[in-house]
Symmetry: none
Subunit: 196 residues, 4 copies
């Protein structure tokens, strides 16, 4: 089910399956776009019918592209992680690894904080596969190793800590109404991760 590409922004159409027909690709995009907005609005209560409606497409079409509600969510998650992968590359390009790491955390947290609905929708979606697939895991690991070598990140920190942190962040974002509380959460966590 996973396509196993490791490029930064994997092009699912060119993987193993034959490329999508132009109209199908167009629909796929419309559906994803609609899904993004529907999930943003309704969170985990979002319904496939709404997605279809907003994409101006029959339900069947949605199901053809994403055989299951979960598959649709997965595609959305994949997109999000692809975005973050780009950020990770920028972080890796910097000399100061800790600054890179810190900013990466802030920027990806912000990405999530921007839509609570999405955080809500994916709360129960297993993301472990995606993080590895899209290559984010590898990049973050590299970044963390360098930050540790530079003595800025605590020596025992691992990528699992980041998963942990992001997991908790999701909860904070979708649960607490005040729009900026997540910043405090991230600040505390980063302090906890910094070398002492």
């Amino acid at each position: 089910m996973r396509r196993g590409t490791a490029t930064v922004v994997p092009d699912p159409e060119t993987a193993l399956a034959r490329p999508l027909r132009a109209d199908a690709r167009r629909n796929r995009e419309r559906i994803l776009k609609a899904a993004r907005s529907v999930f943003a609005d309704q969170g985990s209560d979002a319904q496939i019918d709404d997605v279809a409606r907003r994409a101006k497409v029959g339900v069947g079409t949605v199901y053809r592209h994403f055989p299951t509600k979960d598959a649709l969510l997965d595609a959305l998650v994949r997109e999000r992680f692809d975005e973050i992968c780009v950020l990770a590359d920028e972080a890796l390009a910097r000399d100061d690894a800790w600054e890179g790491f810190r900013d990466l955390v802030w920027r990806s947290a912000e990405l999530n904080a921007r839509d609570r609905g999405f955080c809500d929708a994916i709360a129960y979606h297993d993301q472990t596969a995606v993080v590895v697939d899209c290559g984010l895991m590898g990049r973050v690991e590299q970044l963390m190793r360098r930050a540790q070598a530079q003595g800025a990140l605590r020596a025992d920190a691992t990528t699992d800590d980041i998963s942990l942190m992001m997991c908790g962040l999701g909860s904070v974002v979708r649960t607490i109404p005040s729009p900026d509380v997540w910043r405090r959460y991230v600040a505390l966590m980063l302090d906890g991760l910094r070398a002492t």
Copy 2:
């Protein structure tokens, strides 16, 4: 939806409303007990019918005591916070405030970590009112102020940070399968909260 009592450990039966008849009170307890175990087992999928069945009571009776699924959940949360209040009192009794604070965090985290089902069930339950109502907020604030005075807790820490932390913890507990990962989460957070 909130019942608005302001006593430290409110006993909803003796508040303003007439005291419940003995059998009604017995039923209330049975329902709560059943609910605890059903939610523990099924998490957010638990159904009121299951609770009723396990309490050997009709659904109607459940609804008489708790007009809504959410109200039932709220009562459960209230119980949990009452437990923690006791722990908070023990913490306040200690000389070293930071140790008291730290242990309180660990012990209440453990309480939650012990049942993922419950964490799952209350994931979307707004707990702000309860924390205040039951007096936990006040106790924790006191504890934190003392820990700050002793120079062990970072000066800018507030009770909101604790809410934040517990909120994230819930997500970690119910999302991540490995049974002890939550400990790492708590450790990081406490490190983030310690005075530097």
Copy 3:
């Protein structure tokens, strides 16, 4: 799932489960009646929603009584076999066992022939359990043994032959439009079963 009663017309309400409340029993009857007529009209295409509508009952009520479309069908089949059980007892009361057997076959065939829709609906419903449960199997076996002893039924005939015959009959009834062709089918089969 089977209640294992062996009385002629089993009273499912008094079996192992507690007796149904008066209104529930009334609804159960209404649903069965509605189901009979809906299946008669629409055959296997009949929908639970139609049954509910015709019974003037919510879908949920139908599902409460019969957790599955198949369970509803099963109840209908059970009723039908109970009817036939009565006929079987009449057949057993006669002196001439072959005449009893023959008439039983004719009368139960007629029962089925009267509603094609029903035959259609139960075409894929496994009836083996029901025939045994309701005691029909036993009665027919007795009848056949006596008819064999009297030298009228071929010696190698078993109750399986009857199942076979009724199975084929269903197909004839629901497939062939001319309303009386089934009679020829039964006649041929009986000739095939008579001792030579």
Copy 4:
């Protein structure tokens, strides 16, 4: 829905319509072959998409050749009857008409018994037109008349009885799991048809 050819073994391609282009004919064959195997595997649950997939052809192509699922089924039935026509000719070539008739019945029954899936798929398919169209009806009638003249087949037997019998057989084959029960059915039926 019927194509109304009246030749003995109609070749729908060469009839009145323009002959199909070579590739179109090839496709038609592939589709039929695929359909045979798909229906054999899945019975009445078979989907046109599966047929197309197995034929390595688009659904549209299937629909071009067979405007309806039913039309496809009809073609399959037609093929089956064509096979039986050949058997009927062999039967007619024998001196003993009853033996010819009996063997014809056994052999065609076996043909059906070999694939339950097919029996299942055509359970609701009206075959009356096809039997006449393909000339099977005529042959069987001839055979039966000769068998009657030879005093082996009961005088009142008609081709309708055979339809009846085959109709019931289908039900037995697809309903009863034990793989050889159909033989008993055929035996009984033949006994019912033999002159006494």
